[in-house]
């Protein structure tokens, strides 16, 4: 096949991204840490570490354990907090070579709203991703993203604050993600992203202690890819807003699987730690794949999984 140009742009809400390959929250810092070895202009977007209203020191160590083809983390949303983010990062984003999506987390609905209100006016932020995998301290610690009503109400309130793309990051620690996905769609979300990490554990049989200081943590990496694909496929069949897929992607072949089950864009997480240029390489690989297959646009792959009727 020749060098036909392929169109890899995607639209989320009212914003266009030149590539559907992005880097996931918590795995690319604030967007600067990997610039020595990654040309970020090649990425569709950088999603920041979750920002909370107050700075967070994070959980007690150890926070990282490697598991079979994956890792557990119990970082505890350690981040610099809203004020430092505004003062230190926003000026640096004015000339940032690609789009910035700010990920927001909170332990009450008010915290999400305060952070979004503060950040919404800044033009250097292209979109917002809401981390719903956080415990709601006002509702007995139940995670926002497991309750469709809570998710609907919070999303509606967030929607009233901004017309920028609002991406709701769903939790996978749920029987079926469909109900919550439908709720946030109805509340006006522009997209859903999935999956966040799965709750997991590891035990030291020498000491009989948990390997994480926080006892449990979030599992990520290649080990979770089959779960991510299944959840995205479930949601794709029911919702009409775009899905941003992630969970264990480390190669272009992995990414194509995500497009086929219905993702309109993908995020690379843990693979950044292993091989920082992964997202760049997937960007090139995707173009090559589309050229070889004679696919003109991403719409020719998204959700095109072949299933017997």
């Amino acid at each position: 096949m020749g060098n036909r140009t392929v169109d890899t742009h995607i639209q989320i809400g009212n914003v266009t991204f030149h590539s559907p390959i992005m880097v996931a929250s918590g795995t690319f810092g604030y967007g600067f840490e990997y610039q020595d070895v990654v040309d970020v202009s090649r990425l569709g977007a950088v999603i920041t570490k979750s920002i909370t209203r107050e700075p967070r020191a994070g959980n007690r160590p150890p926070r990282i354990v490697e598991t079979a083809a994956g890792m557990l983390n119990s970082i505890g949303l350690a981040n610099i907090g809203l004020q430092r983010f505004v003062e230190e990062m926003l000026p640096r984003y004015e000339n940032y070579p690609t789009r910035i999506i700010v990920n927001i987390a909170g332990s009450t609905p008010e915290e999400y709203l305060t952070v979004l209100e503060a950040l919404a006016p800044y033009p250097q932020i292209a979109a917002f991703e809401m981390n719903y995998s956080c415990p709601n301290v006002k509702e007995g610690g139940i995670c926002f993203g497991v309750d469709a009503n809570l998710s609907f109400n919070l999303t509606q309130a967030l929607r009233n604050i901004t017309s920028k793309p609002l991406i709701i990051k769903l939790t996978p620690n749920i029987t079926s993600p469909v109900e919550v996905a439908l709720a946030v769609q109805e509340a006006g979300a522009d997209a859903v992203s999935m999956i966040n990490t799965l709750v997991g554990m590891a035990v030291d049989i020498r000491t009989w202690k948990p390997r994480l200081g926080n006892i449990t943590g979030g599992l990520s990496g290649p080990a979770i890819k089959p779960i991510a694909l299944a959840q995205i496929w479930q949601v794709y069949q029911e919702v009409s807003i775009p899905i941003i897929g992630m969970g264990g992607i480390s190669s272009v072949n992995d990414a194509i699987e995500f497009f086929l089950v219905g993702a309109s864009a993908v995020q690379i997480g843990t693979a950044n730690f292993v091989h920082p240029p992964t997202a760049m390489e997937i960007t090139s690989g995707l173009t090559r794949y589309m050229q070889e297959k004679g696919l003109a646009s991403l719409q020719d792959i998204i959700g095109k999984l072949k299933v017997e009727a």
Binding site: G29, E33, I64, E66, N73, F273, V274
Partner: protein
């Protein structure tokens, strides 16, 4: 400071002890940029398991050869795979990363205190020192210890079982050596947390500046994942990969570190 991702060939491999090897890599940018105390993150192999990179201190540099060395001790799966590599094989290296040992003004003697494989970054430091120094190398038994010819005259050993050098802990050897040195001294230490806590205690009691190089499980090595905190005396955390691995000892809350 910039860092690099390079595919580096192993140009020399030697066995230091039955479970520890020295690997010299050719990697021009890393060899030129590295400062003593800094580390590299090595990809174990191009597979999804073992997944994460492993951290190793740079143990010596040779700018003429554009080469740097690491010393790998067999700990678990990843380090065992790495140390089985032979000369000519290539490994994916990210570095140089982290902070380095800082020069201490006005000292006559540097005391380099290493516990086990923690000795590695102290050789690189010794290569660059312009003052007199002693390398104090402690371990459980003689099978863990080794000497490098270029530093041997400056090396002193101690073992817990007395099988080599002075019997006892490396802090005992440090205290003994401190009595022998005249003039101002500073301590540079690397090893297990328990040992660093004890060394920092000795330095504090005797009023000697002390820098420690620390370890913690880490995923990224570049300040992204926030996985490698150590408690500081202000009640917060410092991150081994980007604030460290080298810290002024007085910054670290050793009691909390050791007791959890």
């Amino acid at each position: 400071m910039p860092y690099y991702q390079l595919t580096c060939p192993i140009i020399r491999k030697t066995h230091l002890t039955s479970g520890t090897v020295s690997l010299w890599f050719r990697g021009p940018q890393i060899a030129h940029a590295a400062r003593p105390g800094q580390f590299v993150m090595l990809r174990v192999r191009n597979e999804v398991h073992p997944l994460l990179r492993r951290a190793f201190s740079i143990s010596r540099c040779n700018p003429e050869e554009e080469a740097f060395e690491i010393m790998v001790q067999a700990a678990g799966t990843g380090s065992r795979i790495i140390l089985e590599h032979e000369e000519g094989e290539m490994l994916d290296v990210l570095g140089p990363l982290g902070s380095s040992f800082q020069e201490v003004e006005g000292i006559q003697t540097a005391l380099l205190v290493g516990g086990g494989i923690g000795i590695a970054p102290l050789f690189f430091l010794a290569q660059t020192l312009e003052v007199d120094y002693h390398i104090l190398f402690g371990g459980r038994s003689h099978s863990q210890l080794f000497a490098l010819p270029e530093f041997e005259p400056q090396m002193r050993f101690c073992t817990e079982d007395g099988s080599l050098g002075q019997k006892g802990l490396v802090t005992d050897l440090l205290q003994k050596t401190l009595q022998e040195v005249s003039g101002k001294a500073a301590v540079f230490a690397c090893g297990p947390n328990q040992m660093l806590a004890a060394v920092a205690g000795v330095a504090e009691k005797t009023g000697i500046p002390c820098q420690v190089s620390m370890e913690a499980p880490m995923a990224c090595g570049v300040g992204v994942c926030m996985g490698c905190p150590v408690p500081d005396v202000k009640g917060g955390y410092r991150y081994v990969c980007k604030d460290g691995p080298v810290f002024p000892a007085e910054m670290i809350h050793f009691k909390q570190l050791v007791n959890g």
